[in-house]
């Protein structure tokens, strides 16, 4: 490794100023579990790197919305029970030591089939607060994924804003081992019901495309319907039919597509059987 400069700014201001001055050649790193690994491997050979461990974005606060600082570690989120689906998603990722380093912001940049927390955040309709030297903007996480995770030059991800869930949530990561395993598929669902019938459905899938995606056809089929064996089977079938998952060392696309159906059926059944 022949990095010339390693910066550890002490504030967000200092970090965005450095980024503005140094431009896109400055590699941004939060927990480093992706970036350092790629540098160790020689897949990334930057001249200059900026670490975000000291910028002070590592807190979770609640003020109407839940606000998760981008450099909050997965361990911190796992131990915060304000939104159970998020702590569960954080706990499902990697190993203890890795979760002590990996950040929630970095998880949004992790390549498929990683992105366990990102999947839960997508189901919860999270927004991103992004900041540069001149100001900030808020964009939906779904738009960030649709734009293939591109931020504008000079921008840093500052926090993730999560509206409190109004309905029932279930998270299911299906891997080949119980712990510390990449996902075959991950499904996060947020379903709101009024009496018998579903009034809002948000279902996020991971392991099936380049980024986590919403299962829009399945969501549409559920709204206005009761949850029962028939509607659940139909929605799970629709979700499986609309994805074309990649094959990799973890699982084949063929298997993943079938597991989308099986796991979504289990997730929706769990919601049906839960108390509202």
């Amino acid at each position: 490794m022949i990095v010339k400069d390693y910066f550890l700014p002490e504030s967000l201001d200092e970090a965005v100023t450095l980024l503005a001055e140094r431009g896109p050649d400055l590699l941004v790193m939060a927990g480093g579990t992706i970036a350092m690994m790629r540098m160790n491997e020689g897949h990334l050979l930057p001249d200059q790197v900026m670490g975000l461990r000291r910028v002070g974005l590592d807190a979770i606060t609640i003020n109407g919305k839940l606000s998760i600082g981008a450099t909050t570690t997965l361990s911190t989120l796992a131990n915060n029970e304000s939104v159970p689906m998020l702590s569960q998603a954080a706990r499902s990722a990697a190993s203890w030591s890795l979760r002590n380093m990996a950040t929630v912001g970095g998880n949004l940049f992790a390549r498929n089939p990683y992105g366990d927390v990102a999947t839960a955040l997508l189901a919860l309709n999270a927004d991103l607060r992004v900041i540069n030297r001149n100001g900030e903007r808020v964009l939906p996480l779904a738009d960030f994924f649709a734009a293939n995770r591109q931020l504008e030059p000079g921008e840093l991800l500052a926090d993730i804003l999560v509206p409190p869930p109004t309905g029932q949530t279930v998270y299911h990561k299906f891997g080949r081992r119980a712990y510390n395993t990449p996902a075959v598929v991950t499904i996060a669902a947020h379903i709101t019901r009024d009496g018998d019938s579903v009034t809002a459905a948000s279902i996020a899938l991971n392991g099936v495309a380049a980024t986590p995606v919403r299962a829009i056809p399945a969501e549409k089929m559920l709204v206005g319907q009761p949850l029962n064996g028939e509607t659940i089977t139909a929605a799970a079938q629709a979700a499986a039919e609309t994805v074309d998952p990649p094959s990799d060392a973890v699982a084949s696309g063929w298997y993943r597509q079938r597991m989308v159906r099986v796991i979504l059926e289990r997730v929706l059944t769990q919601i049906m059987e839960q108390e509202q």
Partner: protein, 162 residues
């Protein structure tokens, strides 16, 4: 390429090292400080052989820039081992044949120490979860899990480690 002086507490001792930009803690420990209990396996975060404790929490030293630990407490296996013998966790690994080639052992033992500090009576499931980031290619894990259970018993029995 400006090197920097980094000061941190290593196994209870104030330590100062001169590091090149982005040198990992793993390289500093092994190559600059001669603390070779911390191993180098994958350098990808996948094997856990480079595990050290940072302020008591397990982290992977292959992914951690040394500059990031300035002012903090780092514990390696060298720091766990008393001058005159073995730490109870080491003793349990030894007694239960949880060490074959030994490559995973420093990481396994430090992770176990951190687990038992937080949870003195872990279930088998909690042990498996805690060590799931530490790969062992020799033992098949059963002996290690039994060693962790024995270490928990020993520590509870007042055989206090440091």
């Amino acid at each position: 390429m400006a090197s920097k002086v980094v000061s941190f507490t290593l196994n209870g001792r104030e330590t100062e090292v001169m590091v090149k930009p982005l040198t990992t803690l793993q390289v500093v420990l092994r190559e600059q400080l001669g603390h070779t209990a911390t191993k180098t396996g994958c350098r990808q975060g996948g094997c856990g052989s480079c595990t050290v404790l940072l302020n008591g929490e397990p982290v992977l030293s292959c992914l951690l820039p040394a500059e990031d630990v300035a002012g903090q407490q780092v514990t390696t296996l060298e720091g766990l081992t008393p001058i005159d013998g073995l730490h109870p966790v080491q003793r349990a690994f030894f007694d239960h044949y949880a060490v074959q080639c030994g490559y995973c052992s420093p990481g396994m033992i430090l992770t176990t120490k951190a687990l038992l500090d937080r949870n003195p009576t872990p279930s088998r499931e909690e042990i498996v979860e805690a060590i799931s980031g530490n790969i062992c290619r020799c033992t098949g894990y059963t002996a290690i899990i039994e060693a962790v259970e024995a270490a928990a018993q020993a520590l509870k029995g007042g055989q206090n480690g440091r």
